[in-house]
Symmetry: C2
Subunit: 132 residues, 2 copies
Amino acid sequence: MLKQETLSKNQQIVLDYIEKVNEPIKAYSILHNVQKKGIKAPLQVYRALDKLVEIGKIHKIESRNAFVACKNSNCQISKATAFSICEGCEEVSEISDSKLSKYLKNFQDKAGMKFNKYNLEFFGLCKKCSIK
Amino acid sequence: MLKQETLSKNQQIVLDYIEKVNEPIKAYSILHNVQKKGIKAPLQVYRALDKLVEIGKIHKIESRNAFVACKNSNCQISKATAFSICEGCEEVSEISDSKLSKYLKNFQDKAGMKFNKYNLEFFGLCKKCSIK
DNA sequence: TACACAATGTTATATTATAACAATTAACAC
DNA sequence: GTGTTAATTGTTATAATATAACATTGTGTA
Ligand SMILES: [Zn+2]
Ligand SMILES: [Zn+2]
Ligand SMILES: [Zn+2]
Ligand SMILES: [Zn+2]
């Protein structure tokens, strides 16, 4: 079978919603908001999320248990992700910095382990929150 | 009041256990294993974990919802952490690389956000798992 | 002593995620 | 088209992770 090129119905419903809200959103919040589209159970959401993460359409913000649409057309495979997270307003943005990604892709730890994936989360205060 | 210098009873019990097992361990697994010491409820474990993370004695591996003792005497404050995680055997080790930490501490995103903390998780296969 | 704050104990509940199994749909080879 | 395989869906139940709320006790300090 060829590699999937189109999303399934539930995958598309979930992705549409995540792209629309345009900020990190939690699985059960997605569920509540797509029930009018016919998705009834958590598992239907989680299965769609798994696939969307796998193909790089969305990313999981691990420290927040939340999901966000990919804003970086270069990371189609979800294997090299970096985010900045404001601890004041919880605003999250995906970092797209070629020097950073190059540095991290080439990083070798002392045990010589070869990495195929990384996730980096920076925390701080955004401009708005830091002047409060 | 002076800054806490000694750990409380429950904090010490939980830390002792995490240091003993010497690998990432989950909160409810900790609970089961410290019940003989008198800790009875999840909240007692989570409160101890929160404090231990705060003071840098342990770290949370976000992608695994697990906790591990700090192996890097330099990161007493839990604000700059990096781990390598084997996706085969789930072995986790804390990365201590001064060049990496310097690079990340000084990283500035395009929005000029000032970071005070980061967490980086690398994924791959350890030597043992990669020859299988 | 009185005060402030940290830590504890306890019960209940909220939140996040997966197991198990049956049924349906989509893609492909022939 | 038919048969085959894998992906997807639907459904119920349950597991795993984490916090709310509130009363109580301990600890350092003035
Ligand atoms: Zn991305
Ligand atoms: Zn902010
Ligand atoms: Zn550490
Ligand atoms: Zn391994």
